[in-house]
């Protein structure tokens, strides 16, 4: 089954949707709502919305001496956020996550582009091969890089055979970026592939027939049309990179921290829940801005 037949098949029921029974008063009966929406919604209220509301409310309270919270309103958590120490970590995380996103895009776009043009059978195999590593344990994949890059590791021993090195690959920001790209590259390739796949090849042909060079066709036809895929892919890589704390810890050797480490440490080391909550709120704020940008770009496209 190809994508065109999928959308063709869905077109039929969708046209009937306007008078579909689900949208009638009877279909939205109180019983139906209670039975279908009730359990899930109740679950999400108790275990998602209430916890988030708690985190939100903690941002205005003071930390307890041994963890926990003293219910005494204060704005100090927000002023601390502006402390250059924490601001630098946040800006540094933005930087690392952005670099990882750009690299993933530069590697992922050509890959997705080529996959989209493979014969059908190979296309499926190529796509599955992109997803497969993503379905293996995250920590194991990070561990693989430690084995590969550490002082006596494989890369160094290979280089050593060539008379080079040894180099210190591990424990710098470059390794953190490598780990981020490695972990989230599949999340870049998939939406890009979906966007490129949808392109009508005739558009490109038309552009070429009108005398445009491939580069020009790419810039003025292909790229703008696949922009929503680009934005989605970037978001998929950026979001988990920005809040990550494991990769900086395991591949950064404790020499660099990101905002995720800062949040984790507020909860698990400093036991300053209110400030940890405030940092989490800052993290969410950055992500909400990005999501709005994405929605905006999707609407424009």
């Amino acid at each position: 089954m190809t994508r065109s037949t999928v959308s063709g098949a869905t077109a039929a029921p969708r046209s009937r949707r306007s008078r579909a029974p689900g949208r009638t008063a009877a279909g939205r009966s109180a019983v139906g709502r209670l039975v279908f929406l009730g359990p899930g919604l109740a679950y999400l209220i108790v275990l998602l919305l209430v916890p988030l509301a708690l985190v939100l409310s903690y941002t205005i309270f003071r930390r307890g001496r041994f963890g926990g919270v003293v219910y005494e309103a204060t704005g100090e958590n927000f002023t601390r956020l502006l402390d250059p120490l924490y601001l630098d970590v946040i800006v540094g995380s933005l930087k690392l996550a952005s670099i990882a996103t750009v690299i993933a895009l530069l590697v992922g776009y050509p890959t997705a582009y080529l996959i989209a043009q493979l014969p059908r059978k190979w296309k499926t195999i190529a796509l599955v091969a992109i997803v497969l590593p993503f379905w293996t344990n995250f920590l194991v994949r990070i561990y693989a890089w430690i084995v590969l890059l550490s002082g006596p590791g494989l890369v160094n021993s290979t280089l050593g055979d060539l008379g080079l090195g040894p180099f210190e690959f591990l424990y710098n920001q470059g390794t953190i970026v490598t780990g981020l790209v490695y972990s989230y590259l599949p999340l870049m390739v998939l939406p890009l592939y979906a966007a490129i796949e949808k392109l009508d090849p005739q558009l490109r042909e038309a552009s070429a027939n009108l005398g445009a060079r491939p580069a020009r066709t790419f810039v003025s036809v292909t790229l703008p049309l696949t922009l929503p895929g680009v934005v989605t892919g970037c978001l998929f890589v950026f979001v988990p990179s920005f809040g990550n704390f494991i990769i900086p810890e395991l591949l950064g050797g404790g020499r660099s921290i990101m905002v995720g480490n800062l949040i984790r440490d507020q909860f698990l080391k400093a036991r300053d829940w209110p400030f940890g909550s405030t940092l989490a709120l800052a993290l969410l704020a950055v992500l909400v801005v990005l999501l709005l940008l994405q929605a905006w770009s999707a609407r424009r496209a």
């Binding site: 279908f36 999400l44 599949p186 395991l250 995720g260 984790r264 992500l287």
Partner: protein, 257 residues
């Protein structure tokens, strides 16, 4: 169709980049030597060591219990929620709540749940992780089932109602069988995500009941040991098999793209 040759460089680079570290792990897992870095000869000794590692065994059992439990819960709640959202509500807010766990950074959900559990003085254990995993598991099941619902033929449901069946009867007789493949895919997704999940488990597990990713995390932090290579290889084999089977079953790529 013309494929620019130059593009093959990043294309192949991507696959080498994705698979080289994994390949190294697999090869090194059969190493007879103690060093995790230099290959000395073929042996299964690290698999033997692994089998005798009680911590890992316990972590594995805990992980499977959590994943199985949260998958059942997620599948039931997520399917109901999907049907409810598609057929019984038009609320945008509800839609947003439904996808929130899937887009929320795991760290934020993790601290939220930790704070929540602490505020109700809950005793931590496997159940606290199970409940936590259901939050996002349910969202993923609901998303997959909704995609399926959007493609489902509604005329049968219509007929069922016209013949006087209530929403619940219609659901069990008509909607559910149609949704079965979607539900299975959603359940598989919830299970896999739970097995692999580390951050939320790290924050919500009792120290007495670590899940496998937590055990792996502490092993990795305590240094490189070839035992992890063997474990990694086994995990890879299982994941690969599951994904390939799932691929055959549900045409995963189509639904992803």
């Amino acid at each position: 169709m013309r494929r620019p040759r130059l593009l093959y460089v990043p294309f192949w680079a991507t696959y080498v980049f994705l698979y080289a570290p994994i390949a190294v792990l697999v090869v090194m897992s059969f190493n007879s030597g103690d060093s995790p870095y230099s290959f000395e000869g073929l042996s299964l000794k690290w698999y033997g060591e692994l089998a005798g590692n009680a911590e890992i065994g316990k972590g594995l059992v805990n992980t499977l219990v959590v994943a199985a439990g949260s998958t059942v819960l997620s599948t039931v709640l997520g399917t109901l929620l999907a049907v409810g959202m598609a057929r019984h509500s038009r609320s945008k807010v509800l839609d947003a709540i439904g996808v929130l766990p899937a887009v929320l950074p795991d760290l934020v959900l993790a601290i939220g749940l930790l704070v929540f559990y602490a505020s109700i003085r809950m005793t931590l254990g496997l159940h606290s992780v199970l409940l936590a995993h259901t939050v996002f598991g349910m969202a993923f099941v609901a998303a997959v089932v909704r995609t399926r619902l959007a493609h489902a033929d509604t005329s049968l449901e219509e007929a069922s109602r016209d013949l006087g069946a209530g929403p619940v009867t219609t659901f069990f007789r008509i909607t559910l069988p149609q949704l079965a493949p979607g539900i299975a895919a959603g359940a598989l997704l919830a299970f896999t995500l739970s097995v692999d999940e580390f951050v939320i488990a790290f924050f919500t597990a009792a120290p007495t009941e670590p899940t496998l990713p937590i055990v792996i995390y502490s092993m990795v932090r305590f240094g490189v040991t070839p035992e992890i290579n063997a474990l990694a290889t086994l995990l890879l084999a299982v994941s690969f098999t599951v994904v390939i089977v799932a691929q055959r079953m549900t045409r995963l790529t189509e639904s992803l793209s």
